[in-house]
Symmetry: C2
Subunit: 289 residues, 2 copies
């Protein structure tokens, strides 16, 4: 009982003749006759009455045909689905992002994506946030991770994290109760260790956005981890994304901001051309996550 046989069954019903149906599905009269006989034998019931000039469905045949159409419809739907998905089957996506984000958000997501779209090669570049913009502008990558995307740019949010104040345990502000917070204004008055994580979005830019400036920058470092050492040594306080916090926080007091500030990571496509089918699939999956 092959699938072709169900097509044949419906064709016989539509044409009122095995011969005509056979021609329609590309079989011999003989093959069609045998196939129909075989189906009836398998089901153990007569589906058509053979009269000299025409073969018409029995009552049971009519029911069966109706459901056979459903079956064939589903089969056709499968074929359409596959054909429509064909552009997304193969392809390449180059994604640029900056350190931390790659490991924290992108990697687990891409693992799932690669599982769902095994034909699409996804390569990632680990650069700075400014370089992402350059690469996007030059169309050297398909997608890039940007921080705090402008609303006019269509961007898909990948995740966000919260800026946290980090102080030496013995710092006066660190003596507040367990669930206390610290305001950006207070923080900016302190001796400060400015860490950038290689990003242009850092404590300084965060302050600038609300008209605050750091009063007393003692050191400026690129690596977040360096900043934590300096804070432990009592050089100053610092402000870092939650994601960058170390597991070992001995000697550090981590406090939320009174008015929480976030940085959002989003994936954006090239500003110059629409995303490829592969990239579109990735963005769609991200949006539906």
């Amino acid at each position: 009982m092959n699938l072709m046989h169900w097509r044949l069954l419906v064709a016989v019903a539509d044409h009122g003749s095995i011969t005509a149906a056979a021609g329609h599905v590309g079989m011999t009269q003989s093959a069609a006759s045998q196939a129909m006989a075989g189906m009836e034998a398998t089901l153990g019931a007569q589906l058509f009455t053979r009269e000299p000039r025409k073969t018409l469905p029995t009552a049971l045949g009519l029911s069966v045909i109706e459901q056979a159409r459903v079956m064939l419809g589903a089969l056709q739907a499968i074929r359409s689905t596959v054909d429509e998905a064909r552009p997304m089957l193969r392809g390449t996506i180059r994604i640029a992002s900056f350190p931390m984000v790659l490991a924290t958000f992108l990697t687990p997501f891409l693992q799932r994506f690669r599982q769902l779209y095994p034909g699409i090669d996804v390569t990632t570049l680990d650069v700075t946030d400014n370089e992402v913009l350059t690469l996007l502008e030059a169309d050297l990558i398909d997608l890039g991770v940007v921080l705090n995307p402008k609303p006019e740019r269509q961007a898909t949010i990948l995740g966000r994290d919260c800026w946290m104040a980090v102080l030496p345990t013995n710092h006066p502000l660190a003596q507040r109760p367990a669930d206390a917070s610290v305001s950006l204004e207070e923080l900016f008055e302190q001796a400060f260790v400015l860490a950038t994580g290689g990003c242009s979005a850092n404590a300084r830019s965060l302050g600038a956005a609300v008209g605050l400036t750091l009063r007393d920058i003692r050191v400026e470092v690129r690596e977040w981890s360096s900043a934590f050492s300096l804070v432990r040594e009592g050089v100053g306080v610092t402000l870092v994304p939650e994601m960058a916090l170390p597991v070992e926080r001995q000697g550090l007091r981590v406090m939320p901001l009174t008015a929480p500030r976030y940085r959002e990571f989003a994936l954006v496509g090239s500003p110059n051309r629409p995303p490829s089918a592969a990239a579109a699939a990735l963005l769609k999956m991200l949006a539906e996550r």
Copy 2:
């Protein structure tokens, strides 16, 4: 791409493993692996990603599986339909009716029925209306045609026809305009040819039902055709069912009754036992006609 393969596809999705799915549908690992590879090759797209411990559907695979379930559902529906229809596949129905009805209503209907239920033998007996009742009562037949069934008896209407007055062309009442009618009262006053057609429902019983009696019965015959000859010869007028009218109406004036009277034919089952599956199928088909 066999139907079993679609079952396999769904089973793989459900079990997350080709091996487990193979066992579930009764195949070897090898056969299953080959089958899946074959399906993917035929569709020209990868449906699963093979990882060492599990094989999970790709995005396309998920869509395909969804529709494959529809397909298999339809297939299962077909199997159920056939199984449920099995009692109606074979059987015997004996139907008793009386002349005219058999030819006019029953035969074309039974022709269609035999086409739709070729496994059911339908035999017909041609008897009088009284005999039908006797046969039904004695459970010697499955179905019988009765005239004007009592409402309390569950009966399926086969058809009806209209009582018509038949007069000699030169009869005084026959001189009325083309679309004129004649009342039962007028008719019963005339010299009358009483025809019965072998039925107990005839002009006399029709009159008795409304308190009229035939004033002047000149002849009483069994065959309708005999009555028409007598009317042509001017022996009297008669009242016959429309169905019984001859094609050749030379010398006859056929007029409707002023208050039309009908006789209804209906199929009823035995009053003692429920109808067989086969008989039920016939009654259902008649009711849905």
